[in-house]
């Protein structure tokens, strides 16, 4: 399984050439919502402990790839100020069949929210 990880300050744009072996493409986009803990906001500010975040994302993907064999996974996470409506995280999983791609993508998001040192540092009010 190939893994491609990037933590970036620029807006996330994922364009992937889909190989003919991929019968399933699962894309998850987590976007910044307008409401955060009852407040209307303009943006969220994200920060990462970057070397460890990248290391942990790769480690988690390798573990999950052993359980749910997929062809490739690409992960992008935005850092800095991310306006409402923008993509904060994108995960794109290619597999031969949909079950593995859904399972890996879903499990990865659960693990990201437990074990990857990235934080929402503050909400910027609207």
């Amino acid at each position: 399984m190939t893994v491609d990880i990037l933590l970036q300050r620029e807006p996330i744009v994922l364009k992937t050439d889909i190989p003919p072996e991929a019968g399933a493409v699962v894309r998850f986009e987590g976007r910044v919502r307008a409401a955060e803990q009852g407040r209307t906001i303009h943006a969220l500010v994200y920060e990462a402990y970057q070397p460890m975040a990248e290391r942990q994302i790769e480690k988690i993907l390798r573990e999950l790839g052993a359980q749910h064999p997929c062809l490739s996974v690409r992960v992008r996470h935005r850092l800095g100020e991310v306006p409402v409506g923008d993509i904060a995280i994108a995960v794109e999983t290619l597999a031969a069949h949909r079950a593995e791609a859904f399972a890996l993508t879903s499990a990865f998001m659960d693990r990201l929210k437990q074990d990857v040192p990235i934080w929402k540092m503050k909400a910027v009010d609207a």
């Binding site: 402990y49 996470h77 437990q114 040192p117 934080w119």
Partner: protein, 83 residues
């Protein structure tokens, strides 16, 4: 006998603002245990530390039983909130 090199601690995420610094030096606790580290940290920062802080070394979370070594660079990881 020479004094063991202190632990260098990176303070990350929201905890940095709470403690008011991005790093700290903590005298190496004689036992080299994580329990002794948490006690020393509490003495250095006499504030209510958030629950569920975790320690990492070389970009990996420390197992519960892992021992510390003089001069270790540790990362203090508050609960994460990415995605």
């Amino acid at each position: 006998m020479s004094t063991p090199a202190p632990l260098r601690v990176l303070i990350l995420g929201p905890l940095r603002d709470q403690l008011g610094c991005a790093s700290a030096s903590i005298a190496f606790p004689e036992e080299g245990t994580q329990a002794a580290f948490w006690k020393a940290l509490g003495e250095k920062f006499p504030v209510v530390l958030p629950k569920h802080l975790r320690l990492a070394r070389e970009n990996e979370f420390l197992d519960a039983g892992a021992t510390l070594h003089p001069g270790d660079e540790l990362a203090l990881i508050p609960p994460v909130s990415g995605g």
